[in-house]
């Protein structure tokens, strides 16, 4: 059965006729061709598919697109400034070598952005706990933790 969904993605209204069972991540990747959001496990373990739904980080592989009807979605493609300048959190990942193969990175950044809103100056322990739902196989997390601590502080300072 086909169903019509409409939502706002990265500030732009979008709508499409899709199968009811279409996952939000499939809608984002296949229909909108925003391929920065990744699928690593399809079971809500790895967090590579993390996007913001109405400002909150969620795993887009674990809800169907219909559940996001009318929602405001933000993906990694719209995080940097429109002129291409990296967001302070993205810049912190770059500065602290918080990524290697880059596959988990968009999900890490999207999760960190949400976390930093409520943690302007997080401790290492808080950051490590915030990464509970995001897996990385390259870095060993250490530099991701450093990146998020620096990024959160930079975001707070920019306010």
């Amino acid at each position: 059965m086909s169903v019509r969904v409409s939502m706002k993605v990265n500030g732009k209204p979008v709508s499409a006729d899709i199968e009811e069972r279409t996952l939000l991540v499939s809608f984002i990747r296949e229909n909108l061709r925003l391929t920065g959001t990744h699928v690593g496990c399809d079971t809500a373990q790895c967090g590579a598919c993390t996007v913001h739904l109405n400002g909150k980080a969620i795993k887009s592989c674990s809800i169907v697109a219909m559940q996001a009807e009318g929602a405001d979605i933000l993906t990694i493609e719209a995080v940097a400034h429109p002129d291409g300048t990296l967001h302070p959190m993205q810049a912190a990942f770059k500065e602290n070598h918080g990524l290697q193969c880059g596959f988990c990175t968009p999900g890490m950044v999207m999760n960190a952005l949400d976390f930093a809103k409520s943690h302007p100056n997080p401790s290492e322990q808080e950051v490590r706990e915030s990464l509970e739902g995001n897996l990385c196989r390259c870095t060993g997390y250490h530099n991701i933790v450093k990146s998020i601590m620096a990024g959160a502080r930079a975001m707070a300072a920019a306010k």
């Binding site: 990747r29 296949e30 391929t35 079971t43 290697q100 988990c104 196989r137």
Partner: protein
Amino acid sequence: MTTSLIGARVPRKEDYRFLTGAGQYTDDVALAGQTYAAFVRSPHAHANIRRVSTDKAKRAPGVIAVYTGADLAAAKVGGLPCGWLITDVKGQPMKEPPYPVLAQGKVRHVGERVAVVVAQSAAQARDAAELVEVDYQPLPAVASAAKARSSGAIHEIAPDNVCYVWALGDKNAVDAAFAKAAHVTKLDFVNNRLVPNAIEPRAVNAVYSRADDSTTLYVASQNPHVERLLMTAFVLGLPENKVRVVAPDVGGGFGSKIYLYAEDVACTWAARQLARPVKWTADRSEAFLSDAHGRDHLTVAELALDKDGKFLAMRVRTTANLGAYLSTFASCIPTILYATLLAGQYTTPVIYCEVTAVFTNTTPVDAYRGAGRPEATYVVERLVETAAREMKVEPAELRRKNFIRQFPYQTPVALCYDTGNYEATLEAAMKIADVAGFKDRREQSLRRGKLRGLGYACYIEACGIAPSNVAGSLGARAGLYEAGEVRVHPTGTVTVFTGSHAHGQGHETTFAQVVADRLGLGMEQVDIVHGDTSKILFGMGTYGSRSIAVGGTAIVKALDKVVAKGKKIAAHLLEASEGDIEYDKGIFKVAGRTTIHWTSSSPG
């Protein structure tokens, strides 16, 4: 003197695209007329296939085709080859059973491919795969390497499930040394099997072009040229020049994306049958079942020492679980890349290692992170540490007593070490770890009800897996060289083509540092291209810590040629003799006189 860019801390060139969602991984590639594949996989570890019925699946919505092993056999699609020949203790070649792309009458591990469904959407392909009916007759299965020899045959060619018994070292000399040892330390090891689990699942997207009878394959691979060579020459019988393999951004490999996989072949073959692009992306469960696994050794190891703690001999017997089939490099991991590292950093005069490699009803095992070498280091260092504790000698002291101090040093296990300073590295590590303060820290921990331990591991690694003549003499069925090409554009910017492949290593930055440093350019003026057989002459890819050692060397050799040519041009422009031209970081000069920048000598 300008500061060297090599080794300098610089931001990575590849980070911007990864941080902004602009990376291009295989599953991100969508082609016109795209179709999707789903595989029907065995739920049994070992079973005969009585019948495969695809009728219902073929009638399911969106289904374009369903193929089984019978279709591939009729099309004479070959099995997956093994890239390394191991010769056993009797001088016989290892047992190489057929490794079918889709099962031929029998399945030998859970997750083995029985059929492939191609449909208009990924969801339709998966739905239809569930409609393929397979009548299995389960057979007794064996998963444990320890029980493999006493279990029923998995392959006709290997009635005792032994692929090979291989040995390295002088057994008689080792036995003699053990006979006069003052102390023997003996340990049993289980080096457990593991699943590599790169965060990007394996993926492939194959497309056939009727326009020029060519096939292009996007694939999450660590070595696109090797993938192409194996697939064209050994499996599909296609002309190598008519197949292009692109390994774009790859989300981690850890060894598991070195190999030619059956899914890659099946999608490529299907794309040619259908003249439509066929894409398959593993889900995480499929990754667990079908990515080549790592390790899985059972080992009994012994170290013989004299009364003063000098190592006299080492004896190692390992049973290596290869899984149900021989994966691309499976045979060399528990042998060539394992036993040759057993000397570690020590002067153990004689070493004997015997490896029995067995088939079991499990997912094939191949190289994973370090591949054989960490297994060897674990054996050596556990033995040494345990020996020190048994003989009540300080573990660091026992190591010092046995360190190799004269170089070059020929080990009894084939390798010759050209240089090393093990004392210095141990000392540095002990300083960083504050070994002197450990006693206090342990007492503090005890007072808090906690236990604190201290252990040592002195490690040597064989990086690079080269040169070709050595690899060939040890059974490699291909050379292990690397290709590098430096192309200088008329404006002086440079594109470098490398046969190495990055899947997290950061080659676009590291290689650019090497090139920019040598040519006196900014890193932004140097582009590194990798991962596409249509752009790069050839390549053996990235594994075994070989990128900078072998791939980087190829680039430096190419730079030498560019500089040599630049000297000719500079000599002409400066009206000097070529032999008088000196070159340093982008500047050509006649000794003590005129200088000319590198960009002026470029062909513009």
